[in-house]
């Protein structure tokens, strides 16, 4: 029963029907008998001492079961964990899930009400009285580091959490007098992840223990952390991530609400639910990005890159959450990108402010790095009067030079930047667009055309445990898989990855189908429940396929090995003579006799006649720890029209040629690229979390925090080249973040390119119409048109 291989096939996702219709276990859909609802009262102040919290007005009201302040829970709530203390002298402040003495950002929880319905709980928050003594907000990173600055954590004596340096090669020589140097200051604005499904958590006491359902990316890490924070024994905690509607890193977290909901269920011995509202989520689900980047690139006159200097300030927000300080370090390794340098220096200081903490957001450190280097390369091209693609060509690692160890000490296993670029240029029509650009400039058209390039790479497949240890991360980077052969030959695959929209159930089914020679439909994939899949490191950092997929291949190999012994016995041949292909065991070189893996599964179950010393099970487990990261890359090209009278940017075309290694399911890869592009373009053009001078988040609804929809995006032209990774047997690299990492600089490069003739060499993100218009005004460049000429007129 040999069929066409599943790997490489456009399979529609088997999980989509239930996810799209919503008829499934979203956490908020879970209803339990006697369930109570908790609502949190949140600080309206960016920074204040809590003089008094009075919940007495709430107690005794209809429907109210309990109300607690941070002080009430102080003895048991612990401190929210930071798993990545990046330096030995890092300052990690205490982070109580509900504030006890002081609040440090607008939205920080200060008290909670538990009621029999969620409306009552919300109403009762208004009856809690709090006496705040205002303290000065700390909002600007550079000011926060100045002498005499107000402190976010007064007991720490500083607003600096850590400084992490890295240096390789002779940086001074690289930046010597004979070098052409381009220096810039870029700002990575603060972003709000805004997954479609809000955060939600339900905790039910069960016997001596507790079951938590949470809209999380990390059920396994969460269980371990909850045990450490609350002291509840790990084996008495079961954490379930039911169907989860997106995360983008925002659900890679151990949240105050998860801890408090667990403690409430423990105190009240009843199931308790919490679900955030959209505004509550925008304010209090961790934010992303927020860096000030001082960057400098040195090159020879002929365009050969010599050195790169990066100085970052990274806004931690008010506290360090799960991997807050580690995010900019993931970028530290990626600033050199696909280029060869003699020297590189990097330093990052993490800064406390009175804002929502930041943490991982799609790309996590790598988009920031990619933006800076790809913007800088374009600026250097202008400085050298060289075509920006030609400058890249002169400096990138050539395909015959792999494996290549970069100046940042990473070893890129494979890549072919030439091939991806060649394909992208053809699809884009680069020369024709450059001609149109010249023509529009010549004519002084109100609408100018710009071309943006991003020849990006990133590191995926997080991560070799050995390297994580060297970086002081609190855990390993392996992943597990189990394969259970059922008596009828159907297959249950258990993975420690935790899908929240990626399509694991489909892709893992395809892998298992090929490895075991069973039909795609015969595989079920189980995940996201510590009782079903007890071992896992969960899903983030484009790791699931490269690490978890490899574990699955290894577990399948072990099933086949076990089955082979039994098949040999059944076929009365020696094991060495058995070959396995397409689900069938045969004696080598003969078509008959043969037996299928399903027949072997049944025979194993019956166990009537197994070879001596063979146990009655084909089930197998594997845990895979990668030796190296994987390095997807690609060439993205963007053509942007800029209306110079209004500043409006319209993307005319976007070509993305990605090399993500071997592709399991092209349809899923396509979807990941589209979604990733939308999110990266969103940073370039639309999104920005804005705090006012008092520390209030102004962009607290989706009317003010602008997320683009399909109507705002061009038709993407996507294609692939395929250079298999040699780090894992599947040859896969990862695709979850590629589009987001690549697209932001491609778009901004295009915008700047369109208006460079006015003297503009940067536009602050997001490139809103007003930012673009002001950049033109401030450069002193008058558009060579009268008002109102406009596009298409």
């Amino acid at each position: 029963m040999t069929t066409a291989p599943e790997v490489g096939r456009d399979r529609r996702r088997k999980e989509d029907a239930r996810l799209i219709t919503g008829r499934t276990n979203w956490t908020d859909n879970i209803q339990l008998p006697g369930m109570l609802y908790v609502a949190f009262l949140r600080s309206p102040m960016a920074h204040a001492r809590i003089r008094n919290v009075d919940v007495s007005g709430v107690l005794g009201q209809d429907g109210v079961v309990a109300a607690y302040t941070g002080a009430d829970l102080a003895a048991e709530q612990g401190s929210l964990p930071c798993a990545w203390p990046v330096t030995e002298d890092i300052v990690i402040p205490d982070h109580p899930p509900m504030a006890v003495d002081e609040v440090r950002y607008v939205g920080e929880a200060v008290a909670c009400v538990v009621a029999t319905d969620r409306y009552v709980a919300a109403d009762m928050l208004e009856l809690i009285e709090i006496d705040y003594e205002p303290l000065p907000p700390v909002l600007d990173m550079e000011a926060a580091l100045a002498e005499g600055a107000s402190l976010v954590h007064s007991d720490k004596g500083t607003n600096a959490s850590f400084t992490w340096p890295f240096s390789a090669g002779d940086v001074d020589a690289a930046f010597g007098d004979d070098a052409v140097v381009v220096s810039r200051r870029y700002v990575q604005q603060r972003l709000i992840p805004a997954a479609m499904e809000p955060r939600s958590v339900v905790v039910a006491p069960e016997g001596d223990g507790y079951t938590m359902w949470s809209a999380t990316q990390i059920p396994h890490v969460l269980r371990l952390m909850l045990a450490m924070v609350t002291g509840i024994a790990e084996h008495q905690l079961r954490v379930v991530a039911p169907d989860v509607g997106g995360g983008f890193g925002s659900k890679l977290q151990v949240t105050a609400e998860e801890v408090i909901t667990l403690l409430l269920a423990k105190r009240l011995r009843k199931p308790v639910k919490w679900t955030e509202g959209r505004t509550e989520g925008i304010q209090t689900t961790h934010h992303g990005r927020d860096q000030i980047q001082k960057v400098a690139l040195a090159a020879d006159r002929d365009g050969r890159f010599r050195g790169l200097k990066i100085e970052l300030l990274a806004d931690m927000g008010a506290y360090l959450m799960l991997v807050t300080p580690g995010v900019p370090l993931l970028g530290a390794f990626m600033f050199p990108a696909i280029y060869k340098f003699d020297a590189y220096s990097f330093t990052c200081t993490g800064v406390f402010t009175t804002k929502m903490p930041t943490d991982a957001y799609r790309g996590a450190g790598r988009p920031e790095a990619t933006y800076a280097i790809e913007r800088l390369v374009d600026e250097m091209a202008v400085e050298l009067r060289m075509d920006p693609m030609e400058l890249r060509r002169r400096n990138w690692i050539k395909h015959e030079e792999f494996p290549y160890t970069t100046i940042a000490t990473l070893t890129y296993d494979t890549g072919n930047y030439e091939a991806a670029t060649e394909k992208a240029l053809q699809l884009f029509g680069y020369d024709k667009l450059r001609a149109e650009q010249a023509d529009r400039r010549e004519r002084g058209d109100a609408v100018q055309l710009g071309i943006g390039i991003s020849t990006f790479t990133e590191m995926c497949g997080l991560a070799p445990s050995r390297i994580l240890g060297q970086l002081a991360y609190g855990a390993g980077g392996w992943e597990s898989a189990s394969v259970r052969m059922l008596p009828t030959g159907k297959v249950e695959v258990v993975t420690g990855s935790s899908a929240h929209g990626q399509g694991h159930e489909t892709a893992w089914s395809q892998i298992a189908a090929d490895q075991l020679g069973v039909p795609f439909e015969d595989v079920t994939v189980l995940h996201g429940d510590t009782r079903v899949s007890p071992k896992g490191m969960d899903t983030y950092g484009s790791r699931s396929l490269a690490v978890g997929g490899t574990a699955l291949v290894q577990a399948c190999d072990r099933v086949v090995d076990k089955a082979k012994r039994i098949a040999a016995h059944m076929l009365e041949a020696s094991e060495e003579d058995i070959e396995f292909e397409g689900g069938t065991f045969r004696v080598r070189g003969t078509p008959e006799p043969a037996t299928t893996i399903q027949e072997v599964a049944l025979a194993t179950f019956a166990a009537h006649d197994l070879p001596e010393g063979v146990e009655a099970s084909l089930d197998s487990d594997a845990t895979f720890d990668p030796e190296n990261f994987s390095y997807p890359h690609g060439t993205h090209l963007c053509a942007a029209e800029v209306d110079t009278e209004t500043g409006m940017v319209k993307l005319r075309s976007y070509v993305a040629v990605d090399d993500v290694g071997v592709v399991i399911n092209p349809l899923i890869v396509e979807g990941q690229v589209h979604g990733g592009l939308a999110q990266g373009i969103a940073q370039a053009l639309y999104e920005e979390a804005v705090y006012d001078s008092e520390g209030n988040l102004l962009t607290s609804t989706l009317a003010d925090y602008l997320i683009p929809s399909a109507a705002d995006l061009p038709e993407f032209v996507t294609d692939r080249t395929e250079t298999p990774s040699t780090t894992n047997p599947l040859g896969v690299k990862g695709v979850g973040e590629a589009g987001t990492i690549a697209s932001t600089p491609a778009v901004v490069n295009a915008v700047v390119d369109a208006i460079r003739q006015f003297g503009v060499n940067d536009v602050p993100m997001p490139c809103s119409p007003e930012h673009v218009w002001r950049a033109i005004q401030e450069a002193g460049g008058e558009p060579a048109t009268t008002l109102g000429r406009g596009p298409g007129r």
Binding site: S709, A711, L787, G788, R793
Partner: protein, 286 residues
Amino acid sequence: MIPAKFSYVRPESLDEAVQALDGAGEDTKVLAGGQSLLPLLRLRLAYPEAIVDLTRLGELRGVRDEGGHLWIGSGTTHHELIRDPLVRQHAGLLAQTAATVADPAVRHRGTLGGSLAHADPAADLPATVLTLDGELVVRGPGGERTIPASSFFVDYLTSVLRPAEILTGIRIPKTWGGWNFHYEKFCRTAQSWAIVGVAAAVRRSDGAVAEARLGLTNMGSTPLRAQAVEAAVQSSAPGSHDALRAAAASADDGTSPPSDLHGQADYRRHLVRVLTARALITASRL
């Protein structure tokens, strides 16, 4: 949505609705399409004691030709405005403007009356009704009165509508034959509010623009008419794009645009001049 508690009435007739409002306290809100009220309830920015739901009132629906004017029920949705043949024939600007509002979900629920009564200067339809010299028909305990759009809007989110009055219909004079229209909306994403919008009605004569009516969205605390531009057009009868651009240069006269996340006031002043020129040029078909 977890709003604060309120009581709820859903009258079956207009008289019943007026009665319900008349008997209710100051903190009573009228619910039509809910596209403004529900977000306010969700954010707990509104705490009405009671909500009077008008969605069952057939009297507020439909579009009729009443001879000298078109009568459009206040409960007409944006989607219905876009599709209605009478609206397209006599007040095409309304259909065109409605098509720019938010997204299909909003357009299927949001109503013309709701948009006008809410009096948000960032909303698109108020400037268009103002441009078309519309009149608003309201019913209260004392009977019916008709208010020209030009005196309906008082301030940000404030109209002359009294607490117990219901906006029942909008009259658009059937005098727009031979005029061309364009609504120029400037917004950052397809679903977002106008940073600035310009509604233009233009009548041509002898190859030039003889008359123009211009309404401005989000250029002050109420929708505004660009009177200086209207006067400039009247006096100069512009016959070229350059002449229309010159006329548009005074589009920000008499405006007081807000400064907010989406644009500072000086940027909006610049934009309204550009967009007015574009709206005039498009509507003029020159």
